[in-house]
């Protein structure tokens, strides 16, 4: 065991996540301005989201429904009435001087209520959810580099669901599993576009470390500025190493907020006294080995004692919103099938092997293609095969997501018909000669067959080759006559070899059956 593994093995990583998901509504949370990404600054603003005096917020019904659907999907205890709180702080991107949020009135969970849970797709582990609540996004600051900044309020007032977990994650792999699972769930619920590069989905990690086997939780650091899945994984790995390096040196991590800096390689902690800095050499030795050397560090931002005092109080401009039990039931019963449940259904109801069920539900969007094939009446086992073997491999090779697939489900279904029809085209032949042309030339399978004159061995050729193989394999014939059905394999193999794989195995089997009947008849 390496020294690194030995040292890290003495400690346990403990991670909780805080997620901000922009809800996929048309308009903002409290006004009719459009929700969007990019565009010229300050073109999607109005007196309400600019925070002008005398304006009043009016809650967006769709955002309200979406955040409830998220909470219900986790199985959270959902309130029958929702209220809002004001979170007060000054920042140039916050025009009102406060954010409308929920502190004690979370839509789901919070205040000792059941927050529900999320089952991770890869590991099957359950992560407990602390709460889900609704709040408004702030605007954006653009730094000018001349000592000034520009405020763009297009994003101000965009509805956000804040999703907070308990610190139940124990490794970088589990953090990754969590992010993928949550993304799948939010996409399935159609409540968030989940494009991290556009800031639709933002993760913050709370990281602490404790001696392996300990029950207590160590002081946690909150890491901000994580704008890709890779950034989250790297920042958590870095923070684990940094806190272990502190503990190994007899120091202890402190509760603080840190910023992820993806570029810098050298640990550097402005504002942190030397006694509380991790030893750079030890820290470097504990980081995961990366080709080309490790890059990225978390940087001290503020200590707990400097934490903001947000002076929360009930939002006086918004009334309490009652949710009728019938409404809750309607939301609950209209929830789509979530990835975990889908996996179970594929295995149990459709009879797919566990591995196939997992593979289909693991990668984003793959299950949708599979479902479309089922709708096109391709049997489940065959559909799973097409999606997982030729399609997924081709997508991987081209670096595409299933949603970007160059081959539509309709064409995959046509490929299936081509294989199944009695046209002399074997599965092998279709995959070797038809599929590449469907994939690269944008042809439909039948177009590819017509354009390239692809044809299987003629039935005469199959009969001739089978008869020849029958004569050359007396032992297999003897076994077949004795009722050993498996012996047909030797004859089929010989025919395929002779016809260079272009024969349809069903035609060969049919000829073998005829020959068997004839031989028995002669006896």
């Amino acid at each position: 065991m390496s020294a690194r593994a030995q040292i890290l093995g003495r400690y346990e990583l403990v991670v909780g996540m805080e997620v901000h998901a922009q809800l996929a509504t048309q308009s903002k949370l409290f006004c009719g301005c459009a929700v969007g990404f990019g565009g010229p600054p300050n073109t999607r603003t109005c007196p309400v989201c600019l925070g002008h005096p005398g304006t009043l917020p009016v809650l967006n019904a769709e955002a309200f429904a979406m955040v409830h659907r998220i909470a219900l999907a986790f199985g959270a205890d959902v309130r029958d009435a929702t209220e809002f709180d004001r979170k007060n702080y000054f920042y140039p991107d916050l025009p009102k001087g406060y954010q409308i949020s929920q502190l004690h009135h979370n839509v789901g969970g919070g205040d000792g209520r059941e927050g529900g849970r999320l089952q991770l797709l890869r590991s099957g582990k359950f992560v407990r959810m602390h709460n889900v609540h609704l709040e408004e996004d702030a605007g954006k600051l653009l730094h000018l580099g001349d000592g000034g900044s520009v405020v763009d309020l297009n994003r101000a007032g965009t509805p956000l669901a804040e999703i907070v977990t308990y610190p139940d994650l124990r490794s970088v792999e589990e953090v990754d599993d969590f992010m993928d699972t949550l993304t799948e769930v939010l996409l399935a619920l159609e409540v968030c576009r989940c494009r991290m590069q556009e800031g639709n989905l933002r993760f913050e990690a709370s990281v602490s470390v404790r001696p392996r086997g300990a029950e207590f939780l160590g002081p946690r650091t909150e890491i901000k500025n994580l704008n890709s899945y890779a950034a989250v994984r790297r920042a958590v790995a870095y923070e684990f190493a940094r806190q272990v390096a502190l503990l190994e040196a007899g120091a202890s991590p402190r509760q603080e907020t840190r910023l992820w800096d993806p570029e810098e390689a050298v640990p550097y902690e402005q504002g942190v006294p030397p006694a509380r800095r991790a030893d750079p050499a030890l820290l470097a030795s504990l980081l995961p080995e990366v080709e080309g050397g490790w890059r990225g560090r978390t940087q001290f931002m503020r200590a707990k004692e400097d934490a903001h005092d947000y002076r929360y109080f009930p939002e006086p401009d918004l009334p309490p919103y009652a949710v009728a039990p019938e409404q809750l039931d309607a939301w609950r019963t209209s929830l789509p099938e979530l990835p975990g449940a889908r996996r179970a259904r594929y295995a149990e109801e459709l009879g797919l092997p566990q591995k196939a069920a997992e593979a289909l539900t693991r990668e984003r969007g793959l299950a949708a293609v599979f479902e479309q094939l089922l709708a096109l009446e391709v049997p489940a086992a065959a559909a799973a095969n097409y999606v997982l073997n030729p399609l997924q491999a081709a997508l991987k090779e081209r670096g595409l997501s299933p949603a970007e697939s160059p081959v539509s489900p309709e064409r995959l279904a046509e490929l299936h018909s081509l294989i199944e029809e009695d046209n002399g085209l074997s599965r092998d032949l279709v995959f070797k000669q038809v599929w590449p042309r469907v994939l690269d030339e944008g042809l439909s399978p039948r177009e590819a067959v017509a354009k390239y004159g692809i044809e299987g061995a003629s039935s005469d050729a199959v009969v001739a080759a089978t008869d020849a193989a029958w004569a050359e394999n007396p032992r297999a014939v003897r076994d077949l006559l004795a009722g050993k059905k498996k012996a047909a394999g030797a004859i089929v193999g010989a025919v395929m070899k002779r016809l260079r794989g272009q024969a349809d195995p069903r035609a060969i089997h049919a000829r073998i059956a005829e020959l068997l009947a004839q031989t028995r008849g002669e006896d």
């Binding site: 009719g32 109005c46 009016v58 809650l59 019904a61 769709e62 140039p92 000034g148 900044s149 002076r311």
Partner: protein
């Protein structure tokens, strides 16, 4: 939140810091006195916020808005009150992380 009680010197100092106001001792005393009186008035009022059950018991009110986009202001109007402008936005002094 006793540390934010404006009737104490510490409370008024904390509130002034949160509101980004620089008060000299004279002003701090004056504001503390002022706010203390306001608080006493507020405390003497009956609770104005109806309790939840009462608020929900009344006839249903149209308090939710359908998710429909409405025209935003022309940027020229949005920026009308900006003390300074740059690059189509409100220009402000740079803010350091952690502030």
């Amino acid at each position: 939140m006793t540390e934010l009680d404006p009737r104490t010197p510490e409370g008024i100092a904390a509130l002034a810091r949160l509101a980004r106001l620089a008060l000299d001792p004279e002003e701090a005393r004056a504001f503390g006195d002022h706010m203390g009186r306001m608080l006493r008035w507020i405390e003497s009022l009956p609770p104005a916020r109806p309790d939840l059950g009462e608020a929900l018991a009344g006839p249903p009110r149209r308090t939710l808005r359908a998710d429909r986009v409405r025209p935003s202001l022309p940027p020229e109007e949005s920026l009308a009150g900006a003390p300074e402008r740059a690059a189509g936005g409100f220009r402000v002094p740079a803010v350091l992380p952690g502030e």
